[in-house]
Structures are given as C-alpha cells and as structure tokens.
C-alpha cells in the first residue's frame, strides 16, 4: 500500500481582482511509496507549493481524494489533521522559521509539544539528531547566533524529531549559497536514508532533483 495516494486532485483560487476562479492544480493522480525520495519541479506558479501544502494537510483540494497511510484526509477534522501533521509529517521551508526566542534544542523540540504525551526519549533523539547534523555543541545557542546553513540544519532536525513518515521540503536550500545547498542536500538525503522516511522536495534545481529517487514535473497544474 502506498504511503500517499492522490486521485484526480484539483485546486483553484479566487482572483481577488475579478473574482474569477484560477485553476492551480487539475487532475493530479499520484502514488508515493514509503521510503521514497521524490523531487517536484516545475516553473514558478505551476502549483508545486500548492501540491506540497495539500500533501502536508495545510490546504485541502477542491476535488479529488487523498489517502495518507491508508487514511482518507478529507474525512478528518482540523484537529485530526493537526495530529497527522504532528505525528506523521515533518516540514522544511525555504526560510527556516526558527523561533528566535528559543534555543536550538528548544526549536527542535517544538513539534513534540503538539503531541498529547511527548515521547520520553524526545530529548535524547533531538540531541542525537543534532549530533548527526554537527550541531550538538550549539544546541543551547539561539538561532541568531547561527549561520544560515546551520539554521536550516536545525530546521531539518526539527522536521525529523517526531519520527515522521513523510518530510515535505519546500525549496529547503533556496535561500542558501550553492556550496551550502550541496552540503545540506547531502545531509538531508543521508538523514532520509538513515531514518527511512519518505521525502518530497520542491526544488528549482535540476541537479538537486536528480539526486532524488523520482522526479515529478508539474506544468500548468498537471503532472507530466
């Protein structure tokens, strides 16, 4: 059974000026197995981020069905969707969105607060993950004291701390220089492989996409 199954998914937005419906995604059919790494590529405005938001339950399709881990997302309430996000999905954004008021370790542990009963080994796992990304010695630092690449590494660890089944990365290295982006891509894939998590990454870089197990191209709202 695939981890994610999208059937005939469509999404459109209302144009604030004219009030007309502007289609963003239409007729998306997609199946992704557990442990896969998938890149989503396409030109700006083609619907990559919208697809990612739908996969991450941050948005709902207008039509179509989404099965996640054997569960139809359409039937879930907002609270149940939040629970799916906290337990099964990890997000990595182009901007790290770290809380400046929290330390590195606290930022990593932030998703555990969303769980009804945070796992007892959460702290241990957070420290271990930080060690894997080379930030163990900085786990009490504040984000402002880190470099851009380091902040994004913290964001990676934050996405993995609840041992999700799926990581959604929206241009995770988009704000970094090429060298840092390369290093971080290595790290991300390494973490993905070691943890066996499914990774879906939106990217503009063909080379980065090619390092994924599968590449999906979206053009004018449809999968090619």
């Amino acid at each position: 059974m695939p981890l994610i199954q999208l059937t005939n998914v469509s999404k459109s937005y209302t144009d604030p000026g004219s009030g007309a419906q502007v289609p963003v995604l239409h007729g998306i059919n997609l199946s992704i197995e557990a442990g896969e790494s998938v890149a989503v590529v396409g030109p700006s405005g083609c619907g990559k981020s919208t697809l990612l938001n739908i996969l991450g339950t941050l948005d709902l399709p207008d039509t179509g069905d989404i099965m996640f881990d054997g569960q139809a997302l359409a039937s879930l309430s907002a609270q149940q969707l939040a629970a799916v996000r906290s337990q099964k999905i990890g997000f990595i954004f182009q901007l790290h969105h770290l809380m400046p008021q929290c330390s590195v370790l606290e930022n990593v542990l932030l998703p555990t607060l969303a769980l009804k009963s945070p796992p007892k080994d959460a702290l241990q796992r957070a420290e271990s993950l930080l060690e894997q990304v080379g930030l163990k010695d900085r786990m009490n630092w504040k984000p402002a004291q880190l470099s851009g690449g380091e902040r994004q590494r913290v964001a990676f660890v934050r996405a993995l701390v609840n041992q999700p089944q799926l990581i959604l990365a929206d241009e995770p290295t988009g704000a970094l220089d090429e060298a840092s982006a390369e290093t971080l891509t290595d790290l991300l894939l390494q973490l993905q492989k070691s943890s066996g998590v499914t990774l879906i990454m939106v990217t503009h870089h063909r080379a980065q996409a090619d390092r994924m197990g599968r590449v999906l191209t979206i053009h004018e709202g449809a999968l090619k």
Partner: protein, 1062 residues
C-alpha cells in the same frame, strides 16, 4: 521543554514588542483598581462617619411623639435621651441655625461615645458640636439661644389639645464645643453631613419641657440585650396611662391618658378586661333648646342607651327649663385634615335628669384637657379651638368654679363615638371594677396586658441600619468605572492594537506552529498565555498605579468635585478583596479583548501565514453585507430620532437621541469601511493621491483611528449635553413645579397660612399674603434619599400633602398626582432620581414603614417625578398619612407659589414672621440647582476622565501611525530611491493620517450633535458649547502633533537602507 517554558521565553524575548500591551494593561488596571478603591474609600469613609455618629450605640428606641419614663431607660441599662429639633442662634441673634438637633443627655450618654469622654455641664450651660459652633461663630464661654417646642401629650392638631404657642427659649452658656470623636457627630439619621447639635443637661431640658422624668429616646450598646429586656420593665406610665382609684357607689379603676384620647391599640387591649367599659367625654361648643343655650360644656358618652336620648344634670335642666321628653341640640367640632374643625350638631331627647348630688354627676368623667382643666376661669381657657368668649356667662363661670369639668349631659357610648370618635381615639377613659387590688398590683397587671411595640416603641438596630446605609450607598466604585469607561476602553484598544502588531510581525511563527501539528487552539492558548504573562505584570504595576489613582481621585472629590461627595470627609481604604477582584477583572478583560482582537489572525491558513501573504485587505470584500448593515443602522437611527420627537418623557427622549447618534456613528464607520474597500478605478497621479490610497490599504487600522477619534468626541460631547440647568423654573412642568419658594421649618406650623386665621396667628401682611399660595406638607422624619445623601436611605423621609393642591405641577416621568388617590394601597410618588439611585426602586415597588402603633405597612411607588426639587422624599396623600400617623401634628415642609417679582418679598416676610417656628425658605431654582450640581459634577468627572481617554486614544493613534510607517519603511525607501524627497514623503504620510483624524472628528461631531439635538433645541444655553469647541480643537491639535511626532520618528534616518536590508 514544556509549553510554559516556550511561553515564558517568548514573553522574555519579545518584551520590547509587548511594552504597549504592558502599558495598556497597566493603564486599564490602574483605572479599574483605582475606581474600585474609590468605592472602597467612600464606603470606608461612610462607615467611619457612621462609627463616629453612633459611637458605641448599637440599638435603641425612638419614641418620637411617645414619651416614656426615664426609668425604663435606666432599668434596661440604657442612656435616656431627649431628641428634639429646634433653632439655635448666637446671643447677638445675627446668625440662626434652623433644624438643629437638641439633645437632652446625662453622663450615661457620653459613656456611649467612642472616646467615652464625659462632657460635664450644669443646668445653666450647654455643649454644642463643632459644625454648629462654626456656623454660629461661637466658642466655649459664649452665650447661645435655643428655641424649641414644648411637646404635647396629644397631637396639637387634635381638638382640645391646647394652645399651639408652646415654644420655649433656653439662654445658656456654652460649656464646651465637642469634636466628632467625642460624640459631637452623634445622630441617628444615615447621613454623611454632621448635624448641628446642642447638648442640654437632661434634667434641665425635662424641666423646661415640663416632661420631668420622661424622655423620648433611649440608647443601648447592645441591641440584642435591649430587645430581650425592654418589655420586661414596662409600666403604665410608659404608655402615658394614668390609673386612678374611683371611690363612689361603685369602686372602680379608671385608666386615662395625658394624651386625652386613649390610643386605639391600647383601648382595644384594655376594653377586653372583664366588666370594663369605655368613656368618651367631649367638650361641645354649645347646648341649645327652645328655652335657651349653654356654651362650652362637657358631655360624657358611656354605657348603653338609645342613640337619640340624653341624660342631663339638674343644672342644665334648670338653665334651659328642660323637662323629660324635651329636645335639645348639641353643637360640636369634628376633626378634619390638620386642624380643620367643622361644627356639626346632633339632636337629643331628654330621657332623664340627674340631681347634682347624684354620684354620676362628677368631674371624674372629664380628662385633663390642656389649657382647660388647669385654669381657674372659663374665660382663661385655651383649648386650641376657636372660642367665643363673649358667650360665656357669669353662671357658666360659677358652674366652673363649683363643678369644674363635670359633664352636663350623658349619652350612650355608641352615640358619642358616632359623633366624636376621631383619628386620635374613640375613648377618653376605660373603667374597670376595683376588686381590692393595690394600685401597684393593678398597674402591673394592666401593663402586662400591653406591649410597648403597640405604641411604636420598638427596639431599633441602629448599627445594622448604619451598616446597610453605608453598604448600599452610592457605589462610587461603579460610578467611577462608568465614568472612566472610555478611558478603560481606550487603554484596552491601545493594548489590543499593539498586541496585534506584535502578533502580525510574528505571524509566520503561528504558521510554523500550525504546520508542525499544533492545533489552532494550542497556538492561540500559547499566545494568550504569553500575553497573560505580560498582562499579569501590567496588572501588578496597575495595582500600585490604582492606589495612586485613588488618592488623586479622592483629592479631586475633596477639592474640585465636592458636589459628588457632599461634605463627606474622605479616607483612603483598600481591601485585598477589591484589589484582587480589580486585578482579576482587568486580566480577564484584557485577555478577552486580545482574544477577540486576534481572532481573525488565528483563522488564517498556515500556508498564508508562513508565506506572509495575508492581511485584512486581502480578505474577500463583503460589500453587499456592509451596505445592508449600514442602511439598517441608518434606518433604525432615523426611527429613534423620529420617536425622540414624539415621546414626552425627557429621559426616554434623551435615550432615543443618544441611541440614534450612536447608531449613526456606527453606520458612518461602516460607510467609511465600504469607501476604503472600494476600487477607485482611477489612476493615482500625485503623491497626495497615493497617500490617500494608503488609507484604504489597511481598512481596519484606518477605521480604528477614525473610530477612536469619533467615539471619544461623541461620548464627551454627548454626555456633556446632559449637563443640567434649571431652565425655566417658573414653568409648571419644570423641576420646580412652578413654585417660587421651598422651605422647611424647625418646628411644626399648625396654622393654615392661606387663610386669615393663619395670617393673624403670625401677624402676616394681609395685602401680601393673598399673593402667595402655600402648599404645606406633613413630615415623618427619615433618611434623606436625595442625591445629596451618599448613604442608601433605609427609611426615606415621608411627606404628605393634599394631592389636589399639587394638580398640574411638576413633570412626571411616570404617573400623575391623581395616582395618590388609589385606595387599594398607600400610594406614593417619588422623584425619579430618588427612586432609581437613592432607593433602587421603580414604579410598583414597595417600601416598608411603621405606623404610630408599630405596625408595618407598605408604601407603593405609583409615580415618578422627572428631575424635581422633591428629591429625597416619598410623597403620599395627607389622608393616608393621617390614617397611619393620627397623632401627627402640623406641617414642616412648604412649597410656595408666588409671582417671581414678589417671591423675595414674600420669602423675607414669611421668614421674619415665622422666625419662632424656624422657617427657612429659599428659591426653588436654587434648590434645583443644588440637586443638579451632583449630576453636573459627575458629568464634570466624566469629561475629565473621558478627555483623558480621548488623549490616550490620540496617543494610541500616534503609536499606530508610527508602527504603520515602520512597516512601510521599505516602500518609502524605494520611493526615496526613485527620487522623492524625505520631506515630501513625510507630508504624504501626515496628509493621509490627518485625513483620518479629521474624518473621525467630523463623524464624532456630527453624530454627537444628533445625540444632543433635544438639548440644543430645548435649552441650547445649558450646553457648554464653548468648552466643547475648545475640547474638539484641542483634541485635533493634539492629534496632529502626535501624528507629526510619530511620522518624524518613523521616517528618520536613511530610508534607502531599508531596501538594502530587504
């Protein structure tokens, strides 16, 4: 990490951003705590005054007209006291204080004072309290004159009650001037105003009043003890009853009273004794027959017989040459209202003639009539009824010399009572068989049959009454909260706006938390907890601020707003409970406000928050809904306006216009919102136009600026329109009722001042007096329930008049004078302010009173006067009053009709001629202005606090502008990079925000003008237009200055740096 760690860390990290929230919360807490502590302080001040005025007195008995034995007080371990009202003047006579409290006291009284300090003075001296000394300008060692009325055992309205001229004057040296702490403030009335008191040696006053061994009040330090033991020590004398052994053919006891007529409650009890029978002896004006006439004779009604038969004495038979079967006519007075006497007559047939040595022919039947029984000659009689002295013949004098008051005729008791029973009683004596008991044993047995409560001598818990009066007093805490409401609202809006700014800047964090699986509720809770941490800090600071606010407000109330506290010496008081409640309330209100203000942000999708692609201008525009709502509000506002022109009740009219203005303002705001969200469709071709476009960029913020400005102006202007003026005080439907003069007398006036007899009694000018019409009111003393008394009146003063004399006077908020004729209850009319604020009652509500027999009866409010000079009183009909208080005598409250040009002359004349009665008159307009001054003071306080609110709101606008501009630094930098000069950009921003200020101002002024329309039309002069214009100009100027400072602060430095940073 726990949620609390996250919350605390966030609060610490963003403390600068939360300063606005901290300040707003601090301000709200300061005002709320301060206002509530003002309430605490006023209550504590009232309790302090109550403690000083009562000392250690807990309970007591107030006899009023019922005087009882001093022994009763002594036996119950109470202090015997005489409480009377009089007039005091300095020896020079230049200054006179009416309505002074004259107290007959001994050492036991001083033991009840807080200090227990004994103030000793002999019979030649008196002590006075500090307020009286101040008013008279006297000190210890000076001489004082005290004028008061000698009490009468029987109502002076009663026939045969003797002369009304029973004033006495005491000329005494002032031995001491007593401070409030030493019991100088003693009074039993719940009032914050200390009385003017003269303390007279008890024995001295008893002698002067011819009331040896008797008092009319007793005071006790323990109410429960008094209640338990009072009835144990009662004697017949306490009921003003006399027991006499009658030695004759039949040995009998006779019970009579110094009040002439036995009170009905007592008579009903005693007549139930076995073989007891009643006696009613009456002074008739004359007995006539075909053969002659005999003036002024006693006739006794007792026993059974035919109603039209009379047994006469031989003397009368001889005088008229009457024989059995002959007819004679008896003429007599019957009692009307007041001292109105109407002569009536009855015819009898002679059934029997008694020889003069018959045992029945004895003066024992006749009670002691004051002014009659104690004089040697008939011509010296002063029975208190009009007498034709010329009618008295020598043979009548001779009869008096030989037989004194011996009745000349006897009729059946039933016949006598049919003719002469009146509100004072229906028997003058009760006789019982003498079975050989001793006088003492019989007296005790009789006393046991009676209860002091039957004659209204019931123990009263003064301490509890005082506590209730102070507790239920004007809630200054609530009042100040109400008056500060706009200031509190401004503080909350201020806090909410700045909190929202912080929130908006951190919107991505909300998005992230939602993305990582936090529920919206969790995120919101975390944010409100963070705000709560800041709010708690603000509240804690605000508690201290509140104490300072209270001190300032108390100072204001003592120095500037004295009209609100009416002479109450204020002390600061703060209870933990109040502080805790205020702090908690502030915290809850702040969090609710923040929760409400931020509700929309927490509904934004995580993806939008993360992308920063959200704002209120991106929300779909619900144009149609907004227009619909605007139109509905405008229609409702117009409907209210129209009904405002139709309605009569001034309060309702004001409410309609106020509501109309308020709805118009909201409608205007909705219109502006629609205008801002419209698509202009035109191309902005100038910097000014671009600036104006910015107004609609964040409609909610722009509306907040306009709303804050408009709301502040609206409230301050509209509330000031309620500034009351006396208006046309000659109009019948005004607060004066069209009367020119109002006044009170220290001693009752028994005479009708509208007729010649009354004028003669006081030597009044017969040419001047026909120009005046006096409406007299009977007065049952009680608590002043007007707005001048801060205590909650427990038993408001009851006044009574003939409703027909008031027809067509005063404006009614509900009902009319005719309602006083309702026979199904004891109806009362009260001033609306008295009922609503002084008593917390409305039409249909009841108040308990006790009649003269100690029975509780209910008075029902059937009408409300609109803003009148009759504040503080419950007005009932004289008929009902006399039914409940038959012993009441005279009038002490007056309304006088006179032409404006003559009112001063009439006032001066009446005051001079009725000086002995202590009459003090003042123009009704003056009294009305005094009452209105309280409301006007509240409006003054509101104006100050509301004005501060407007200023705070304006300062908030400044912060809002600064934040708004800071957010736009990037685009401003871009514009500078494009070649616009910084000065031009500043002018553009100033321009766009000035438009907002002016729009708010216009909206506020227009809608407020609508709200105050009735005031403008009816009494434009009453509205402080000059002040309001100054206020509006000042607010606008302040707003522009704040705006300029905000712009200058936000636009300083190199704007182009912002682009580089971006």
């Amino acid at each position: 990490m726990k949620l609390t760690d996250y919350v605390l860390q966030s609060a610490r990290h963003y403390w600068r951003g939360h300063l606005g929230l901290l300040f707003g919360t601090f301000l709200a807490a300061t005002i709320l705590t301060g206002s509530m502590l003002v309430g605490d302080s006023v209550r504590a001040s009232l309790e302090r005054v109550a403690a000083l005025r009562l000392g250690k007195v807990e309970g007591g008995v107030l006899g009023g007209d019922h005087w009882f034995t001093e022994t009763l007080a002594r036996k119950t371990q109470s202090a015997p006291v005489i409480i009377a009202t009089g007039a005091a003047s300095a020896a020079s006579g230049k200054v006179r204080v009416n309505g002074a409290q004259v107290l007959g006291v001994d050492a036991s009284f001083w033991k009840l004072s807080t200090s227990s300090k004994n103030i000793a003075f002999d019979k030649s001296s008196v002590a006075i309290n500090e307020p009286l000394a101040r008013k008279l300008g006297v000190k210890a060692g000076d001489t004082i004159l005290v004028r008061l009325e000698r009490p009468s055992a029987i109502s002076r309205d009663a026939p045969l009650s003797g002369s009304t001229n029973q004033d006495i004057s005491l000329r005494r040296t002032i031995a001491a001037v007593i401070s409030a702490e030493d019991f100088g403030a003693f009074q039993l009335t719940a009032s914050q105003v200390p009385p003017d008191s003269v303390f007279v040696n008890l024995a001295d006053l008893q002698t002067q009043l011819e009331m040896d061994g008797r008092v009319n009040a007793l005071l006790h330090p323990q109410f429960n003890t008094l209640r338990a033991h009072l009835e144990e020590h009662r004697t017949l004398e306490d009921f003003s009853l006399k027991l006499k052994r009658l030695e004759g053919a039949q040995k009998e006891w006779e019970i009579s009273t110094s009040r002439v007529f036995l009170e009905r409650s007592i008579a009903d009890e005693l007549i139930d004794f076995k073989y007891a029978y009643g006696v009613l002896t009456y002074l008739v004006n004359g007995i006539t027959s075909k053969q002659g006439g005999t003036p002024y004779s006693m006739i006794t009604a007792t026993g059974h017989g035919k109603d039209d038969e009379i047994t006469i004495t031989q003397w009368l038979a001889d005088d008229h040459k009457l024989a059995i079967g002959d007819e004679l006519e008896v003429k007599y007075f019957v009692v009307g209202l007041g001292r109105d006497l109407q002569q009536q007559s009855a015819k009898f047939k002679v059934a029997k003639i008694l020889p003069m040595d018959d045992p029945m022919v004895t003066k024992a039947w006749t009670p002691d009539f004051p002014g009659v029984s104690d004089v040697d000659n008939c011509r010296d009689w002063e029975p208190g009824i009009p007498m034709d002295m010329k009618a008295i013949r020598d043979k009548d004098e001779a009869y008096w010399d030989e037989f004194k008051g011996t009745p000349k005729g006897f009729i059946s008791l039933a016949a006598g009572q049919k003719l002469w029973a009146n509100r004072f009683g229906k028997l003058t004596a009760i006789r019982l068989p003498n079975e050989g008991q001793t006088m003492e044993a019989k007296a005790n047995a009789l006393a046991l049959r009676l209860q002091l409560a039957d004659i209204g001598l019931v123990p009263r818990d003064f301490k509890q009454d005082a506590g209730n009066a102070a507790k239920g007093s004007v809630d200054f805490g609530g009042l100040f909260i109400g008056l500060s409401m706009f200031l509190i609202a401004a503080a909350l809006v201020f806090a909410a706006l700045l909190f929202l700014f912080t929130l908006e800047r951190r919107a991505a964090q909300i998005g992230l938390l939602l993305a990582v699986g936090w529920t919206r509720r969790m995120v919101r809770r975390a944010w409100l907890l963070e705000a709560g941490v800041i709010a708690i800090a603000g509240v804690l600071l605000g508690v201290f601020g509140g104490m300072i606010y209270t001190q300032t407000a108390l100072h204001g109330l003592s120095a500037i707003w004295t009209g609100a506290t009416q002479g109450l010496p204020l002390v600061f008081s703060a209870s933990f409970g109040t502080i805790f409640s205020a702090a908690l309330a502030t915290l809850v209100v702040v969090l609710l406000t923040l929760g409400w203000a931020s509700r929309k942000l927490f509904k934004v999708q995580a993806r939008d928050l993360l992308a920063g692609s959200w704002s209120d201008d991106l929300r779909p525009v619900q144009k149609k809904r907004g227009i619909k709502m605007m139109l509905i509000l405008a229609v409702v506002a117009l409907a209210l306006l129209a009904s405002g022109f139709v309605l009569k009740n001034p309060e309702a009219v004001a409410g309609m216009f106020f509501g109309s203005g308020m709805l118009m303002m909201i409608s205007g705001l909705l219109f502006l919102r629609g205008w801002m969200r419209r698509d202009s469709g035109t191309l902005a071709r100038s910097l000014r136009q671009i600036g104006l476009r910015n107004i609609s960029r964040r409609p909610s913020r722009s509306l907040a600026v306009i709303g804050m400005m408009a709301g502040g102006i609206f409230l301050v202007v509209a509330v000031n329109a309620f500034h009351m003026s006396a208006g046309d005080s000659t109009a019948r439907d005004s607060g004066t009722g069209g009367f020119a003069l109002i006044g009170e007398s220290s001693l009752p006036v028994y005479e009708d001042l509208n007729v010649k007899a009354g004028w003669d009694a006081f030597g009044l000018d017969e040419k001047l007096m026909p120009q005046a019409r006096v409406v007299p009111f009977r007065v049952r003393d009680g608590d002043d329930a007007s707005c001048l008394n801060l205590n909650r009146a427990q038993k408001p003063v009851l006044v009574a008049a003939d409703p027909s004399k008031l027809t067509g006077t005063f404006a009614f908020a509900s009902g009319s004078w005719d309602n006083l004729n309702d026979a199904t209850c004891v109806p009362a009319i009260a001033d609306q302010a008295t009922a609503m604020w002084g008593l917390g009652k409305g039409v249909g509500d009841m108040l308990d009173y006790q009649d003269s027999s100690g029975n509780t009866f209910q008075v029902k409010i059937v009408g409300l006067l609109a803003g009148s000079i009759l504040q503080g009183k419950m007005i009932i009909s004289e008929k009902d009053y006399l039914a409940k208080y038959p012993d009441a005598a005279g009038y002490r409250f007056f309304l006088i009709d006179a032409k404006p040009e003559q009112s001063a002359e009439i006032a001066a004349h009446l005051t001079r001629q009725l000086e002995q009665r202590g009459l003090a008159l003042e123009p009704t307009r003056q009294r009305l202005v005094l009452f209105l001054s309280v409301q006007n003071t509240y409006i003054g306080i509101f104006t100050v606090l509301g004005g501060l609110g407007v200023l705070l709101g304006t300062a908030g606008i400044g912060v809002l502008i600064a934040r708004h501009v800071l957010e736009r630094r990037g685009e401003l930098g871009l514009m500078q990079a494009l070649g616009f000069r910084a000065g031009a950009l500043r002018r553009m921003i100033m321009g766009e925000h000035s438009v907002l200020l002016v729009l708010g101002l216009i909206l506020g002024v227009v809608t407020a003008s609508l709200a105050v329309l009735p005031q403008l039309i009816e009494r434009g002069g009453g509205l402080p237009i000059g002040f309001l214009i100054e206020l509006i100009v000042a607010v606008l100027a302040f707003g522009l200055v704040v705006c300029a400072i905000a712009v200058a602060t936000a636009v300083r430095g190199h704007l182009t740096d912002s682009i580089r940073r971006e």
